[in-house]
Amino acid sequence: MAAAMVASVGAPAAALASNLCQTDLLHAFTFSRRCVRVSRLYGCSAETAHAIVLRQVAGVVFADALLEARQVPSSFTFRPASAVVDLADALARLNRQYLLTGSLASSIWDRPRLVKDIDVIVDVRGGLDELVDSLSESFLVLAGPSDSSFAHSMYAQAVHRSSGFRIELFFRVSGHGLYSRATNFVYGDSAMPVRLMPLEELLVSRLIFLGAECPSQAAKLTGAMQLWRRCGSRMDQVRVARLAKRFGVEQWLGRVKGEE
């Protein structure tokens, strides 16, 4: 069973999984217990859950890490994430608009960041079936388009098949030109540019999180203040103010700018 599953996730994963078994890593992570949890959580088969957990555990070890957004010491090199490149490729083939956001976008705009997953906003126009079909070549999408909750929640997760990195997909229809303002960013050795959320929207999205009283709010407030301090001069101030007003986070903007 395990051998058949390993074969289905490709040679690199198979080699790694074999190594993981030898080092008892699967035992350490109580693999079967996690499979049951994933199966219940996403309503998928035991076989699919097995593949998901295998990739989640195994992928990070040989993941391509993240980005080459700036010059950093060779001992701490950020490299392009194959997951992001595959995602950009799949979405470009569908001519589907998207924005990379979250800590990955902050890393590119600002400085190296702690990145635990990759957040992407995707234009839902054109339907979900086609999107999921296209993504399924490189990703395991953790909900099916036939699942009504998938469409209603406007949110899904995908696990990159070859790297195991987790991607959080937020489906949004934008009537405010959000996608058209995206900035192209070319990873070091990749021919495929990726679309980045603009700095102004990135800052305001952080303020919205602050307004929602998320966990570790103090750290996020500090992070937003630093983003403003280092990148504020590159932002369109009028647009920042307009976005903050639209989303009701003017008070948070004032705090970040040190006006309160």
């Binding site: 109580t30 996690r34 990070v60 070890v61 391509d64």
Partner: protein, 99 residues
């Protein structure tokens, strides 16, 4: 959680890390986090008792940045690990051991 208190990985916590990224889990597998090389560095520093500020200083040196610039990320990750019970305050551990 203060910047001066030392924290370390709780006994039984499993960490797999290299220079690409890391996985950290409790012994039951109920709590699992993954991350990039920044997470990998932080976790490596938690193998022995280490303070938030010292970890941030080391990370900042690697990234050629100021410690206060990387502090929020380190703080957020440590807070998450602490709330999940994957790390413990070294002083608290000493007290537990002494009782």
């Amino acid at each position: 959680m203060t910047s001066e208190n030392a924290y370390r990985l709780r006994d039984g916590v499993v960490v797999m890390a290299d220079h690409h990224g890391a996985v950290v889990s409790d012994d039951s597998g109920d709590r699992v986090y993954t991350g990039n090389e920044v997470a990998s560095y932080i976790l490596s520093e938690l193998k022995t008792a280490n303070s938030l500020r010292r970890i941030a200083s080391g990370l900042a040196a690697k990234c050629r940045m100021r410690a206060e610039d990387v502090l929020p990320d380190v703080e957020e990750f440590l807070d998450q690990l602490h709330r999940s019970g994957l790390i413990v305050a070294a002083s608290a551990e000493l007290q537990e051991g002494g009782e």
